[in-house]
């Protein structure tokens, strides 16, 4: 593959590919990711669909918030169980609306760590500025025009998060 054939213009996701250079040597070329550069919308459409379907199931009481995040992160029950150190049987129960209230807070903390969210987010659906920042098309100047943005800030207490609406133009 020639150097010119591997180049993709996509700044947000850079990779190193090896290719033939002009002098016939083979060397590293820094370029944008082909798949991110050409098909990122496909990814977000698919993940958006998973998110919407799971959210609807959550609202209908068909699944638990743990299941919502497991679906969003595309994890299997085996992987989740292995990461939180619980049996698959127990995790399967925790994925249901019926058994969600039986989860200990310490277990919820383990789930929260795996999904890298505050424990509080198992009890509220919230979209923060931090979540949006990575989305394609995010423009900080547009975001800053909004009257209020919501941020979540970790505190010294692992069970408590500071959820803070902020006026962008105080």
């Amino acid at each position: 593959m020639k150097e010119k054939d591997v180049l993709t213009d996509f700044k947000a996701h850079q990779v190193i590919l090896y290719a033939e250079k002009g002098d016939n040597s083979i060397g590293p070329v820094q370029t944008g990711s082909y798949i991110s550069g050409h098909y990122i919308d496909e990814f977000y459409n698919f993940m958006g669909k998973i998110e919407r379907e799971s959210f609807e199931k959550l609202q209908n009481g068909d699944i638990s918030p743990v299941c919502l995040y497991m679906n969003i992160e595309e994890m299997t029950v085996s992987e989740l169980a292995s990461r939180v150190g619980l049996s698959k049987r127990r995790v399967k129960k925790h994925l249901t609306h019926k058994y969600f209230p039986t989860i200990k807070v310490s277990e919820l903390k383990k789930y929260a760590d795996v999904f890298n969210i505050p424990v509080a987010n198992f009890f509220q659906i919230i979209t923060t500025r931090q979540d949006n920042e990575w989305r394609p098309g995010f423009k900080s100047d547009v975001e800053n025009q909004k009257p209020v943005v919501i941020s979540q800030i970790a505190t010294g207490n692992p069970y408590v998060v500071l959820t803070k609406p902020e006026l962008t133009h105080p």
């Binding site: 593959m1 990122i40 496909e42 890298n116």
Partner: protein, 336 residues
């Protein structure tokens, strides 16, 4: 506060890239492809386990082996540590940074929040070098990131102590003794011999060239794992990710291996290795074509049995070429 001067460069692969950067920092001039080739990095495996929603392909050897194999073949000594206590791990890391010692660590990629959310997945075998600390923020040289990045103490700790399969357990390493003279010729020979074994002789049907054939045979069955066309397309897109974006240097590591063979050929004054490098580039082109073809198929939702068979045939052609290639590589290295 510590801020170690460190030459940050992007790398094709996190494990070989971090090792190369650490060795360069300690004065050994060596390229990433040489590290990758000497440590027998290239491989192929077709996996389907309960941990995975869908089958996956891997194109490199077991995580951790690159450093281990390179250490054995170069005589370089490393200090390695694993921890059960995250606080002890942090204390030792901080102490080493204070002594101006960059430290390579193994982490779960998911917590490296300097990357875009869409590429961050749970994978416990990502490597990077920690090169400084300022308050509760660490400076890291991550080969997948264009610049030196910063990460919070909390996220680095979560990454180092993630649980699950291949848990990092706070693993860290740094070189302590780099010999003045290293017999790279012997390392190249051993690296190639092991690669040939891994690709041709491992007696398991899903590894090496046999793994490529299994991939070719099984791809037509992928629809049965998907709940709908969108999910199937999503997984077919991932073929491109697994072969190109996931730290392979393109073409499922085949281009980087071609670069290694070229460099090895020059070092050993062996034109035959240069010829093999050319052939490996062609094999890489074929893998790249598979990546592009599969993403086009996924985009167009053109995922019928006939089309999947066609993709399977393209993969099988790689298996045929690689079987011959590695046999020839074996013959060549026996003569050097």
């Amino acid at each position: 506060m510590s801020n170690i001067p460190f030459n940050h460069v992007m790398a094709a692969h996190c494990e070989s890239g971090t090792l190369t950067a650490m060795l360069n920092h300690h004065g050994l001039k060596i390229s990433e492809p040489m590290v990758f080739g000497i440590s027998s990095g290239i491989f192929f495996g077709y996996m389907k386990t309960p941990m995975l929603h869908f089958p996956a392909v891997i194109a490199r050897i077991q995580p951790g082996k690159i450093r281990k194999n390179f250490a054995k073949r170069s005589g370089i000594q490393f200090i390695t540590r694993k921890y059960s206590d995250p606080l002890e791990a942090e204390r030792e890391l901080d102490s080493l940074l204070e002594q101006n010692q960059p430290v390579a660590v193994q982490v779960d990629f998911f917590y490296m929040d300097y990357f875009p959310a869409w590429i961050r997945v749970h994978i416990n075998v990502h490597f990077l070098a920690v090169i400084g600390k300022n308050g509760d923020t660490y400076r890291v040289s991550d080969g997948y990131h264009p610049e030196i990045a910063e990460i919070s103490r909390e996220n680095l700790r979560k990454g180092r102590f993630a649980t699950g399969s291949m848990a990092p357990k706070g693993f860290m390493y740094y070189p302590v003794n780099v010999p003045a003279e290293i017999d790279f010729r012997a390392g190249i020979r051993k690296g190639i011999k092991d690669t040939v074994f891994y690709m041709l002789k491992i007696p398991l049907p899903f590894l090496g060239v046999k793994g490529i054939r299994r991939f070719a045979d099984k791809i037509v069955q992928w629809p049965k794992y998907a709940r709908d066309m969108d999910e199937l397309a999503h997984e077919i897109f991932r073929i491109n990710v697994m072969l190109e974006d996931q730290g392979t240097g393109g073409g499922g590591f085949r281009y980087m291996y071609a670069s290694f063979l070229r460099e090895a050929g020059m070092l050993m004054d062996a034109p035959m290795l240069q010829d093999l490098s050319r052939r490996m580039m062609d094999i890489g082109d074929g893998w790249r074509e598979i990546s592009l073809y599969s993403s086009r198929m996924a985009k167009n939702r053109d995922l019928g049995t006939e089309k999947l068979k066609e993709l399977g045939d393209m993969i099988r052609a790689r298996a045929d070429l690689e079987a011959v290639f590695f046999k020839d590589l074996k013959k060549t290295i026996a003569q050097l």
